[in-house]
């Protein structure tokens, strides 16, 4: 399906990452925003609200992040693509309804503009400390999709991807940006509406009285209906059967919850996306995502200029993680370098998937927000000189 022309601001614009995210949402067909203001995500809401009357979108500022995501879930069941935007402390509050969204299999998008935590942290400074929370921060077993944009253009593109994944797999999808990308202003090319692919909601099309809200297709994803169409369906956050009725037995837990996990795991090959350069011949592979990729790509260029065989594996989807690809590369490359604006989160996944066949060097949080190119460069140099595979993660100061 092609995008609705009404929401697409085709052309070349200078936009901040946050503004581009709002434009991406509108282009993807998002027509409901439930929000609670938090720095540094506010500009997404402001842009969305400014444009809402033109495109027929509605919004509401709720009393907290808990209710903001609750309202988004409710709105999604009316047939409107819906999203919320927040930052770390807000994401913590949203974990309750992220879990409900998973259980009710409700498509929605959460843009998390990461600041420094934990607690109140440094709200205006960029970080990547919410990555593991985005994966499994809510209680219970589940899998969702998380994307990590590194520029305003990617904020636009990945927001559309996020909505497409959320509709295709009926899950909440997280856009894991950060304060740096959110504020960065760059040229964003918004293509004409007929060049933007938008995943339509997959509706049930059978008889009204035989609709089962959680009867799964072959790909484990059930079909949806909207409220007010006469289906008079029931959905519950409790463990439930195909009818959406609560069933309090362990057999049903397996029947209900395993598909929530498997619908993403078995589709991981289709979902996972990475951008690779020069990895095939590389001694050292730099795995990066989000704002960190910008410094990493610069460091990679400098390292190549000085003769080191180094490639880049930039993550588009952080969750699900490109496990197979990292394992393949580990057989050939000598080492991985993983810069992150945290004390080591995604690096754990990199290390796990090398199966001890390559060294993993971790470059932690830069002392002033965004990762320093020099730190990554010196890590690449060190990695290229270390021959023996060492177990565990080698952390560089």
């Amino acid at each position: 399906m092609k995008a609705d022309k009404n929401g697409v601001l085709s052309g070349s614009h200078v936009l901040s990452g946050n503004q581009a995210c709002a434009e991406g949402a509108l282009a993807a067909g998002c027509r409901f925003l439930g929000l609670y203001p938090i720095v540094p995500s506010i500009e997404i809401s402001e842009r969305f609200l400014e444009r809402a009357p033109q495109v027929g979108a509605t919004f509401i500022q709720m009393e907290d992040e808990v209710s903001a995501l609750a309202a988004v879930l409710g709105a999604s069941w009316t047939g409107k693509k819906s999203m919320t935007v927040t930052s770390g402390p807000g994401l913590s509050l949203m974990m309750e309804h992220l879990g409900l969204g998973v259980m009710l299999e409700t498509p929605c998008v959460i843009a998390d503009i990461q600041g420094v935590g934990p607690g109140l942290g440094l709200p205006t400074h960029p970080a990547q400390g919410d990555m593991m929370q985005a994966r499994w921060g809510s209680h219970g077993d589940y899998e969702i999709v998380a994307l990590a944009p590194s520029s305003p253009q990617e904020m636009f593109d990945y927001t559309i991807k996020a909505f497409n994944f959320s509709e295709r797999y009926r899950i909440p999808v997280a856009i894991m940006s950060d304060a740096h990308v959110a504020r960065l202003k760059e040229t964003v090319l918004i293509p004409p509406a007929d060049q933007i692919n938008v995943e339509p909601r997959r509706y049930y099309e059978g008889a009204k009285d035989s609709y089962l809200p959680f009867k799964r297709d072959k790909d484990f994803v059930p079909r949806m209906v909207d409220i007010g169409q006469g289906y008079r369906f029931h959905v519950t956050g409790l463990t439930h059967d195909d009818r959406g009725y609560p069933i309090m037995f362990e057999e049903c837990q397996e029947y209900n919850v395993h598909p929530l996990v498997w619908k993403i795991r078995q589709a991981a090959d289709k979902i996972v996306e990475v951008q690779e350069t020069d990895t095939d011949e590389a001694d050292v592979v730099v795995v990066s995502y989000g704002a960190t990729s910008r410094a990493a790509l610069k460091a990679i260029k400098q390292a190549r200029d000085s003769g080191i065989k180094v490639g880049s594996l930039k993550l588009v989807t952080v969750w699900p993680f490109p496990e197979k690809r990292v394992a393949e590369l580990a057989k050939r490359a000598r080492a991985f370098v993983v810069p992150e604006m945290n004390c080591g989160q995604v690096v754990l996944e990199v290390e796990r998937n090398t199966y001890g066949e390559a060294n993993v060097f971790f470059v932690p949080h830069g002392d002033n927000g965004v990762e320093h190119t020099e730190d990554i460069l010196s890590a690449i140099k060190q990695a290229s000189q270390t021959n023996v595979a060492k177990s565990g993660i080698i952390e560089l100061a």
Partner: protein, 294 residues
Amino acid sequence: MEALRTDSKQEIHPMENLLRMDRMPHIWCPTCGIGIAVTAFTAALEKAKIDPNTVSIVSGIGCTGRVAGYVKLDSFHTTHGRPIAFATGIKVASPKTKVVVFSGDGDLIAIGGNHFIHAARRNIDMLVVCVNNFIYAMTGGQVAPTTPLAAYATTSPYGCVEPPFNIPYLADSSGAVYVARWTTLHVRRLTNSLTEALQKKGFAVVEAISPCGMYYSRINRLGDGLDMMRFYHDNVEIRHGEDTKNLDIGFQTKIICGKFVDRERPSYMERYNQWLSDVKTAGRRSGGQRGSRK
């Protein structure tokens, strides 16, 4: 009687078209009042002549939280305390939907208290039915924000030391346009109030005081559900239009019931649509009566 029985071999529940009969029997204890509140609600839906296909019902967690699972409407059983927030999303995204929140006192007034007062302040078009049994019953009888002073609960073993919320006063002072309170003994009056509230534009709250024969009355040695009903019969005073300040409920004291608030105030969607049409005709910066702001 014989003739009747042979005429209809199969007994049909009079509310069958509005209940999920495939989920019966329900989980509520004998002498619990929630079933009566549900019956009153379904009767009100019919009396108000509302097309059931246009109604969405949202419940939270707890005994009353199970209501959404038993009524045959588009129904959502959501997180603890958040049904009003979830329902707000439905209403704002789909204004033509009739939205009902059916939940208990712990769900709506303790963990969901913030959502309750803000929805009232916004005057979201929504009927909130709050079944008040003075206790957290699903979890086995813990003290609630409605437990009367000195009443026992498993987490107030020496008697409740916190003064309870007066739900009609909370709703009234937060901006609700319709506020009524009945007990589940007052089936006809409760049904009438729900019928009125369903037709009201804006945030309407109906409190239904219900016996909890299993926990509240047992732990406080008040007899069973029938004794509670008898207590309501002897101790309820109907005072329509009473100032909501005077509606506190003490331990085994008089309970004042009636319709206390019925007023007009622009609803959230009315204000939102007014703003929208102003913006469309006059442009963003000069919308409404705010005047131009350059």
